[in-house]
Structures are given as C-alpha cells and as structure tokens.
Subunit: 214 residues, 2 copies
DNA sequence: TAGATTGTTAATCGATTAACAATC
DNA sequence: TAGATTGTTAATCGATTAACAATC
C-alpha cells in the first residue's frame, strides 16, 4: 500500500476507470468482495496485473476474500476524481457540446461545468440546461474569474486550433480535444484526445486483424 | 517497407490518427515534405519512434528530405480507413447520437452510418439528417440486411449493457462504447471505449501530477 | 487445518530510444 | 562534395506476467 499521491504509470491510470465502472456493477449486484482473479476475468486482464495496479492504491486486500468492493470504489473515485471539484468550460454549443453540458455524470464525478461558449450569434444566449451560451469574448473572463482548469473543445475540426489558442491564452491547464485535428499547445498545457473517429479507426483495425481490443 | 497487412502493435495504431491529422495540416500549408524530426517535434515523440512507426507502412522516405506529405496522408488513410467502407449503426438518438449522425467526418473516412435507433417513442420516427430514427425492434434486421459491422453505443450508462447484448445478438463484430460502464461481450466482439468522462479523469490526473499527456 | 488469495520479487516480454551505416 | 536524413540493428527502458512466501 503506497501513498495515494505517488505517480501512477499511465497504463495504470487508463485502466482505473475500467475498474471503477466494473466495481460499480458489482456493488449494484450487492457483491461485497471481489478477487483479483474476478476483476481480471471481467476486464480481460491477468490477475497479476490487477494486483499490481491495485497495490498503487490506499487499499489492502484480504487473503482468501479479495478486495472489499465498497472500499475499492471509494479509493478509485478518490484517485480519479480527486478531492476537490475540477472546473471546466465547454467550447462549442452544437449537439456534442450540449450533450456534455446536459450530461449528469460529469457533476457526479466532481467536474463542474462553469460555462458553455460559441461564436455563432444564432446560439449565443440560448439556454442549455442551467447554462446560457456565452460569446467567446467572455471566455477569458470566466476562466480567470472562476479559476477554471479544463477546457473541452467541441467545435468542428477547422476551428479547433483557434479555440485551443484562446483557451491557452485564458490560462487553462488542460484540454480535452474532441476534434479530429492535432492541437499545438505549449508544453505546460496537457492535452487528452478523445475522438470518436479515432476510436472507430482503432476498432476497424482490430476487426480487420481479428482481434478483440479495449 | 513492409506489407500493409502486417499486424501493427497497438501503440502504433493509436498514434496513426495523430500522424494523419498533423499531416493534413501540413498539406493545407502546402508543405510537400516532412522529416521524422519534424513530425516528432509536432507530436511530442522522438524521431526514432516516428521512423519505426512509419517503417510499418508502404512508404519510403527519402534521405535529406523526409517523407512526402501527399503519399504519407494516402497510406495513413488507407491503413486507418481500409479499402472498403465500414458500415455502422448508432444506438441512442439523444444529443450524442445525433451529433454523430450529423458528423460529416465519418463518411469522409469511409464509415457509413446505416441507421440510428432509439427505444423512446417520442423520438422514433423523427428525422436526423438523412436518417429517420428507428425502433430497437428493427435493429437486427438492419444489421443483418445491410451487413453492418460496427455499433456505436450512445445511450445512458444504465441502458448500455442491454444495448450491447442486442448488438451482439444482431451479429455485430465491434462496438464503440461511449457510455461510462464496462461492457461484457463475447470474445469475438471487439470493444473500444471512448468516454469523455474517462478522458477528463485522465486529464485531471495529468494536471495533478504536473505532466503533459496525450 | 487446508486451501485460496494477497503482496511482492524476479523473469519475461514488448516498446522506445540510441546509434550508425547507407544514401541522396 | 558535405551534410542531413532514412532504415534498421542493438541497447535500454518500462510494463506485464509468473512465481511463491505470507496470511487469513
């Protein structure tokens, strides 16, 4: 059992949400314990990998029983969602941006949407859930005023780089990029690409080579 | 230069879309050549990695000049999008499903949307772009009738497993899962998770540990 | 107790990086 | 020509898996 603030290897970080979603299922089914073998089989890993991964968390398994699902969910959420809320803004109020703004899961995981922005006068001012779409000119003020850390780019590919530049200028620390373009940003800003088209391409490749993937 | 049908390591497959999107930028800027070093710097890799990656493709670089951007885009698209179209269905006609259905990029990369489905009578029958939302009862017929290979799950988490089951039953070969749940499917079916919440969590972690990522 | 399961160390595997001869 | 850049081999690094003593 290590300190929760040690730096986890990236492959581990990317597996944590999978553990979390599976463990929630187990809890829903009222299972109080799960073994490394059980997790491994459900997620397509080896039990060794599971034990290695979980050894990074503040959690102790119990011989013969495994890990307590309640505690496991707790530490996974703590590791993934952190202790304080993450503030974010969404840029782009098309279907994709609206889907995000209306998506209750984010708030449930301590991601707080502080604004949604667009440059189209036809949508500026319209209501999306509890938010009203704001013009891009107000982006900087909101980011700095509310201490927003994260920007989600939900605009068409051709506009994404410009949006990224404005987010960087506003002082954002990380970007989730949903557009199918490569963004250039200063090194201090972290970017995670999350693009359905890229996922489709990965999947098509996996199918072509007859080979399950996740 | 190897045959394009050799099996690429997964880390390579996941980098290919990034090369592709960057190379398109270069072409737009009318740059005819790019070196491994140029690509590496733009994408945050080493030039060694770039040369290793590209050596898997049917493409030869030229000493002193690098790779021809036109040809590079061509082989990347061939590798990623394949030669024939991939047929897909979207399940869930909420904002997210509609965003996908209306998203021109898919068709441009040879992903052909053959249907959009929902079980809500309020949306069944409504028009989304060129498609009309169909009831779930017609899923199987469409999948089998049109030879659909891929299903995209764009429904709330609590409904995702059931949708996955129906897609599997219909004979789908791969699933892109946008819901924040872990799906259980038979081994022959490939699943790629593409979840914005997981990307946010990965990003939050990267920010926390002061560390750029992609 | 006997058997199952953890936590951890050591072994293996695979991916990334370095290095350099070949080449334009 | 001299210098830059590829393609590839070898070295390094890191992640996954195997193995097993400790433990409940």
């Amino acid at each position: 059992m290590k300190s929760a603030l040690s730096i986890l290897p990236n492959p581990v970080v990317r597996r944590l949400p999978r553990y979390l979603t599976h463990v929630r299922e187990l809890r829903r089914a009222d299972l109080a314990w799960v073994s490394s073998r059980g997790l491994a089989e459900a997620l397509g890993l080896t039990s060794s990998t599971v034990r290695q991964d979980l050894s990074h968390l503040s959690l102790a398994g119990v011989s013969k029983r495994g890990y307590e699902t309640r505690r496991l969910e707790e530490v996974l959420r703590e590791e993934l969602d952190g202790r304080k809320a993450h503030r974010l803004v969404i840029v782009g109020a098309g279907y994709l941006g609206c889907a995000l703004a209306l998506h209750g899961d984010l708030a449930e995981h301590r991601f707080e949407t502080c604004g949604i922005f667009d440059n189209d006068v036809a949508v500026i001012g319209t209501q999306v859930g509890k938010l009203r779409v704001k013009p891009m000119s107000l982006l900087r003020g909101v980011v700095q005023g509310k201490g927003v850390e994260i920007g989600i780019i939900a605009v068409p590919a051709h506009a994404a780089q410009e949006v990224a530049d404005r987010l960087v200028l506003a002082g954002i620390r990380g970007i989730v990029n949903l557009a199918y373009v490569h963004l250039r940003v200063p090194r201090r800003v972290a970017v995670v690409d999350s693009r359905i088209l890229a996922s489709l391409q990965e999947l098509a490749y996996a199918i072509k080579t007859r080979h399950g993937a996740t």
